[in-house]
Amino acid sequence: MSLISSLKIFSPSSLNTTQNALSVVSSRANSWWSHVEMGPPDPILGVTEAFKRDTNPKKMNLGVGAYRDDSGKPFILPAVKMAEAEIAKKNMDKEYSPISGSPEFCKATINLALGEDNEWTKNGLNATVQGISGTGSLRIGTAFLSAFFPGGKDLYMPTPTWGNHVPLAKHAGLGVKQYRYYDPKTCGFDFHGALQDIAKIPERSMILLHACAHNPTGVDPKPEQWAEMSKVIKEKKLFPFFDMAYQGFASGDIDKDAAPVRMFLKDGHQIALSQSYAKNMGLYGERAGAFSLICSSKEEAAATMSQLKIIIRPMYSNPPVTGARIATEILTNPSLRSQWLKDVKGMADRIISMRQLLRSNLAKEGSSRDWAHITDQIGMFCFTGMTPPQVEKLTKDFSVYLTKDGRISVAGITSKNVEYLAHAIHQVTK
């Protein structure tokens, strides 16, 4: 007990100190929690924290995946502001939502994904529930699959995938396996690797697919490649679970971005689908999303719906309403809907033009590297192909903050800082 032996003078005050020291030691010993270790630091949060501490006026935060406008500010969509004004007029109450969220929200959301007039919703084949944005919807989906999927309980994910997919699936009780996806040599889609690996997946397994704007690489299969994948997945009797977090945000066109999901349904797959309004409506903190199962009959849809509710109730009883009300208002009000389509195209266009500017500025800098992937990739993120040492140098020498894997959030680029970024990237990669 070094605390006590270090105290040599036993005056009343030091005795007090001894007692305090003893009580600190014994309170830890009596605590239920003294064994609890610090969890690993969140890599993306770490990037933002370091960015905040940096005093370089030219610093850039290319870590967090939230959209920024050309002044580098968070963007509240005009359609959202208009929807909020409409909702305020209605003086709605604060009564509990149904466990599965409002039916209006769920219908509008699945119809956004599948098309307004789609045959699946029309025939009542979907079981759709509101979830806590994309994460919460994935959580409901993985919990359902863990309890009810009749085949193997491993969820096959692309390499790489969103950092949270793995802990989330494991937490729900699923195993996690991989299939090849990103080709670091081309900074593009490893189509043949993916097909080979998918063909090796045991029959009746679950496969996770990013519908568009793959996170973190920005690499999406081409339509004809999706068609091939659909074929193999069908042959191998695999169950497709789509994560669609960027519908509209990727290409600017909601139908184009949802095409793989619709293709798979047309090809006869039954699917699971997670949707998020965080990015495409900028509703990040309001947590609006949905999970759907497309079933083979109305009865199946009703049965699965009842089980989904049983999963939700012990999680948080019923979902938060504000984000869902905004989304519903936008999607069901024709003038707001067309405003939203403009807003989301605006965001997508800005990102696409930043990609173009970055690439052209790199060429202007005299870079001899092939940067085609910057414009080939799509969505918020770009896998630059930079190595960890290059990333470190970029941060240390130029105050450009990004994750170790070389991923940048294109949303963090503006017309004012793109030249600086190109210069910096060229310096560390030449």
């Binding site: 929690w33 969890g39 509240i76 509710k309 049983i310 999680m315």
Partner: protein, 402 residues
């Protein structure tokens, strides 16, 4: 396979579909005005207008553990600003998805990190307690006796015996005030004895506080039990809901208060809870948090809010008085003082299943199978009808005596 419908929602559905003009909904636990309408608190409306006009606000993600002004104010509201644990940095708050979400996060932490596997709640208790804890990773859900049906009061001896027999490390769910569904709370002296026993048997207290302020109309009074445990130096968690006391049912505003013996465990605990939240829903919703967080940190708005709570609590208390008076006047068989002895939104009437069925089928008065009624469903417009019908079913039903 299709799952059985969840009782309280099925009941509500049946009520909504009933076309009987004098129907009464004594089922779902939400406040109603004397006109039988939901009530959005004026301070909430005011805040929403203020938030809408504030150009500096955006919709960015909250931190994983939530909106800090809300979490710290909620923990302070619970423990009181005199709390030693608060002053010593041994207490922390984490924004969660209302009371259910706070119970779930707390339960997952206790199961996965604390390695607790056995949980007790009262018999009866809120229907969702067992599901939350079992889904969170607990392997055994057990009950401690609570409701004495014969006396229509707390079965204190049964409670103490059951807790005495609980294995060490068991988590004990305690309703902080306004027990759901019975409305029966332990006295202060009983709470002291419960605390002694929990300490002696090395059990872990998990408070469920869904009605602070809403029960008596006084925030401090309703927090007495939690604060008593805190003053005794317990490590504990408490799930807090702002659904009822702020009327923010569908915004899902809640807080998980965590009290430790030593401040050095707070950061590790928070970091582990961060991982759990990330794997469940990433971060909590913003809108409701801003409302509550702003009000609780503004003395003027807080006073306004307190007056709303008092309005709601007072109306409920007057309905309790009114129902008891009428039943006693009608000389309905049995004793009815439990209606005013009980506190909060709910009353365990003591009505048996046959009487309940009759109330629903014959009189279009909707209540849960166990005889729980929501006092908020009563108002000056229907209290005579309800008293009359209770009298009718009690006098015409052969059931275990009340």
């Amino acid at each position: 396979e299709r799952a059985p419908p969840i009782e309280v929602f099925a009941l509500n559905k049946a009520y909504v579909e009933d076309t009987f003009p004098q129907k009464v909904n004594l089922g779902v636990g939400a406040y109603r005005t004397d006109e039988g309408k939901p009530w959005v608190l004026p301070v909430v409306r005011h805040m929403e207008q203020k938030l809408a006009a504030d150009e500096t606000l955006n919709k960015e993600y909250l931190p994983v553990l939530g909106y800090e002004p809300l979490a710290s104010a909620a923990t302070r509201m619970l423990l009181g600003s005199d709390s030693a644990s608060l002053k010593e940095g041994r207490a922390t708050g984490i924004q969660c998805l209302s009371g259910t979400g706070a119970l779930r996060v707390g339960a997952e932490f206790l199961a996965h990190i604390g390695k607790h596997s056995i949980v007790y709640s009262s018999n009866p208790t809120w229907g969702n307690h067992s599901l939350v804890f079992l889904n969170a990773g607990f392997t055994s859900y057990r009950s401690y006796r609570y409701w004495d049906a014969a006396k229509k009061a707390l079965d204190f001896d049964g409670l103490m015996e059951d807790l005495r027999n609980a294995p060490e490390n068991s988590v004990i769910i305690l309703h902080a005030c306004a027990h759901n569904p019975t409305g029966v709370d332990p006295t202060q002296d009983q709470w002291r004895q419960i605390a002694d026993l929990i300490e002696e048997r090395r059990l872990f207290p998990f408070f469920d506080s869904a009605y602070q302020g809403f029960a008596s109309g006084d925030l401090d009074r309703d927090a007495w039990a939690v604060r008593y445990f805190d003053s005794r130096g317990f490590e504990m968690v408490c799930a807090q809901s702002f659904a009822k006391n702020f009327g923010l049912y569908n915004e899902r505003v809640g807080n998980l208060t965590f009290v430790a013996k030593d401040r050095s465990v707070i950061e590790p605990v928070r970091s582990q809870i961060t991982l759990l939240v990330r794997a469940n829903y990433s971060n909590p919703p913003n809108h409701g948090a801003r409302i509550v967080g702003t009000v609780l940190n503004d003395p003027v708005l807080t006073e306004q809010w307190k007056s709303h709570i008092k309005t709601m609590a007072d109306r409920i208390i007057s309905m309790r008085l009114g129902l008891r008076e009428r039943l006693e006047k009608l000389e309905t068989p049995g004793t009815w003082n439990h209606i005013t002895d009980q506190i909060g939104m709910f009353s365990f009437t003591g009505l048996g299943p046959l009487a309940v069925d009759k109330l629903i089928a014959d009189h279009h008065i909707y209540l849960l199978k166990g005889g729980r009624i929501n006092m908020c469903g009563l108002n000056t417009g229907n209290i005579d009808y309800v008293a009359k019908c209770i009298h009718e079913v009690v006098t015409t039903t052969q059931e275990a005596s009340l």
